[in-house]
Structures are given as C-alpha cells and as structure tokens.
C-alpha cells in the first residue's frame, strides 16, 4: 500500500491505496464521487475526465499514486454556493445532453478548454473536445453550450479555472 494526500474539490484527503488503483476508481469507490464516469476504460472516450492541478486528464489512465500532492477537481466540485457553474447551466439550457453519461467529462474538458481559450471558435470548441465522445447528441448542442457558456463567462468575467 502507498499513502497519498490529495486535495479533491477543496478537501484534503489522506488515504492508503494499492499502487495499481486508478484515479477514477479512487474517486468513485473511495470518495464516492460517482459523477466521474468510467466509459471505455481505454483512454478514448473522456467520460472519466477530471482536472489535475487545473489540466484535464483521463482519470482511467492516471494512477492514484501519481496524483499524490495534487489538487483534483471533479464535476461535483464546480458548482459554487448552490449556483451551477456557467457550463452546467449552458449544457442544460442548450440541451447539450441526452442520456448524460458523457456530460461530466464534457464539462470538465470544456473548463480546461475555456481556461486556455476564453473565446473559442466553433472549430476550436470541436477540436478542444476531441477527447470526449458522445453517442447521443451529434455534438451540435454541446458545441452550442460551450459557446454560450464562454460568452456568459466573458460577460461575467468568471474565471474559467476552477480548483
């Protein structure tokens, strides 16, 4: 076993983990943060995307021990004071989801995308979400949602970077 200390959604956690524990299983099974989904489990679909020190990563391809000392943000950590994150609101308002399985990963990737590029074009949004697969929507409303959130965040000068 290895001892790790990670800050997850602002809370410091100390845990003993087997070195082979994947970050996604640590989040879901140890911390009961089941908003982060396991989709393909082969680093393709992006359903397991979380922020590791602010950068989007596929948590099925990160060992929990690699996150020792790091700060992690999951979908459960982005609403503030009972208010949805602008991306959550935009996905709702723009119908950016159908079954919702990919949505947490889409939103976490979008946070990183808007951190790097607060005013993305449609093409840049599509490229920025290349690591996330949706089998329902055809992506159209997801792209609309990210564009709407970007506009709203620029207007409100909300920092895209969430930790």
């Amino acid at each position: 076993m290895a001892q790790i200390t990670v800050t997850v959604n602002g809370t410091t956690e100390h845990h003993d983990v087997e070195p082979r524990t994947l970050l996604v299983h640590f989040l879901r099974e140890r911390l009961s943060l089941t908003g982060t989904h396991v989709g393909c489990d082969t680093s393709q679909c992006g359903a397991c995307t979380v922020l590791l020190d602010g950068a989007s990563v596929k948590s099925c391809t990160v060992l929990a021990v690699q996150a020792d000392g790091a700060s992690i943000t999951t979908i459960e950590g982005i609403a503030k004071d009972g208010q949805y994150h602008p991306l959550q609101t935009a996905f709702w308002e723009q119908h950016g989801l159908q079954c919702g399985f990919c949505t947490p990963g889409m939103i976490m990737s979008s946070i990183d995308l808007l951190r790097r590029n607060p005013s993305p074009s449609e093409a840049e949004i599509r490229a920025g979400l290349e690591g996330n697969i949706c089998r329902c929507t055809g992506y159209h409303n997801i792209v609309n949602a990210v564009a709407a959130a970007a506009e709203q965040m620029r207007a409100a000068a909300t920092p895209a970077h969430v930790n």
Partner: protein, 289 residues
C-alpha cells in the same frame, strides 16, 4: 481494468531512480506520463513488478534554447511542446506533431521522453526526431551518453536505451534562417495514431535550391525511418512541385505498409505519397522557398 499488482516508488533524484533500476533490473519500468505504459498494463500486455515514477525528479521538464540547440526535458508534455513559442519558432515540425497527438487530455499527460522510449511504430515524435537529427541524452550509472536519433530507434517498440538508463533530455540542433520544417499525418480516426506521418526539414541555399533535406516517415512499418533516396532527390534542385512530387514518390516506394482494416497496401502507399508532398510543401514554404 486494473493493472496487475506492482510496487511503486517516486524517487526525488536521478541517482535514486538509477539505483532502483539497478536493484530491480528487468522487473522495473520507468513511468513518465503513463499514456503508453498504463494502457498496456491495464490490458496486462505489460506486467512490470516495479514502477519507478520520474515525476518528482527536478529538472526533467522544461524547454530552453542554448548554444545552437533546443534542449527539451524528457518529462515535457505534448501540451507544453505544442504551446511553446520556442518550439513553434525553432522546430515547427515538432509543434505540428505535438499538437496532433491524441486529444487534449492525452497531451496534458503524455511526455516526449515517454513516447520516444516507448517507440510505438505509429507514434509521431520518433518520426520528427529523425528528421530533426535529434540527440538523446541518456543517463546511467556509468554516466551520460548521447545517442543520435537514428541509432536510438532500433525496431518495433525497441530503442537502444539500456534497461538501467534514463532518457533525460532531447537536444535538437537549430535551423538557420533558410531552413524550414513541417510534419503532417493522416490520423487513425479512432486512435489518432499516425496511419502515416511524414516529417521534413529542408535547408535552402541562397539561390533557392535545396542545400540539405531530411525526410522521415512513420506509421508504415515496424519503426520510423529516414528516406535517404527522397532526400537525395531534393538536394541541389529547386524544390518545385514536380521535384517534391518525385521525392514523395520515393517515400511511398520506401515504406512497408501492411494491409489491414484501414486499407490496402496500394492505398497506404498513396497516403504516404500525399502526406509526404504536403509535409515537403509546408517545409519549403517555411524555409522561404
């Protein structure tokens, strides 16, 4: 999918990492970003008994210009390469390649050193390293040695890195003003690996003819290779569309693709032709030709 059980260390110095490699021998594997190794471990294709994580060792990442070369720490991520003004300006084909690897999440974790040491035949960076004439700085218990890219890649998933050595830095000789480089690839639609990837570096003489060319191709055989015939076909000539077409035909003739779900041998040779022409056209354009 869980990997098989293993022991794990994250040493804080290169000496400690080397000591662990010496102690555990063939049972140990180095872990960089983990985006080649962990998928293999999850599928149980790789079952190392000991992982030595390099993430806490200082000075293994970073990009800096010094004395005629660009020095890139082996732990630099693809995202860092793609976002680097130094890389974009001084080795544009490396920026081209880094920006096209995988997807944003993969680029946030995957590292140049990890990719090169893994030497996947469909990876992008080995091809670029060959066309860049890069030097691999490698540290072992016997000291440091520098391996030219052409001697570093020796076969499918195989490099000349010894099991008790660590790739620490990639050194790329810098171009002069009339040199241009480019990388272009046909991405596998699902995996984003290169069905074919071509890297070209072209140096022009004052009269606009090609002084020197390096062309490498990957994804179409067990390892990326330089294509000396195509390089010779450019040298001394003005790099017109006709000359580039002829050089690209030599790239297509040199590759050794296998027929699979993605296409026939003839289709893949045509891909090599098309992408070689594109890479050559961009490289010549960037060289001011």
């Amino acid at each position: 999918m869980y990997p098989a059980s293993f022991s794990y260390s994250s040493p804080t110095s290169l000496d400690d990492a080397l000591a662990l490699l010496a102690e555990h021998g063939e049972d140990a594997k180095l872990l960089a970003g983990g985006h080649s190794l962990l998928p293999l471990m999850k599928l149980r294709f790789a079952q190392p008994r000991y992982l030595v994580d390099l993430r806490r060792i200082a000075n293994l990442s970073g990009i800096e210009r010094s004395a005629g070369e660009l020095k890139i720490g082996a732990m630099s991520t693809y995202a860092a390469l793609a976002a680097s003004d130094l890389v974009r300006t001084l080795v544009p084909m490396l920026a081209d390649a880094a920006a096209q690897i995988g997807d944003p999440q993969v680029r946030n974790r995957g590292t140049i050193g990890g990719s090169l040491a893994h030497a996947d035949p469909a990876a992008d960076l080995p091809t670029v390293m060959l066309a860049a004439d890069a030097q691999m700085a490698v540290v072992g218990r016997r000291g440091t040695r520098v391996i030219p890219a052409q001697a570093f890649f020796v076969g499918m998933l195989t490099t000349s890195l010894a099991p008790d050595e660590v790739l620490t830095e990639i050194r790329i000789p810098l171009a002069d003003a009339r040199e241009g480089s480019a990388y272009d690839k046909c991405r596998h639609p699902a995996s984003r690996f290169a069905l074919v990837g071509v890297a070209a570096s072209i140096r022009l003489a004052a009269d606009g003819t090609v002084l020197h060319a390096r062309i490498a191709v990957g994804g179409m055989g067990p390892m990326a290779v330089r294509v000396a015939g195509a390089e010779a076909a450019l040298k001394g000539h003005a790099p017109t569309a006709e000359v580039r077409h002829a050089a690209a035909a030599l790239v297509a003739a040199a590759v050794d693709p296998q027929e699979d779900l993605q296409g026939t041998v003839a289709y893949k040779r045509n891909l090599a032709q098309v992408y070689a022409e594109r890479a050559l056209a961009s490289a010549v354009h960037r060289a001011g030709g």
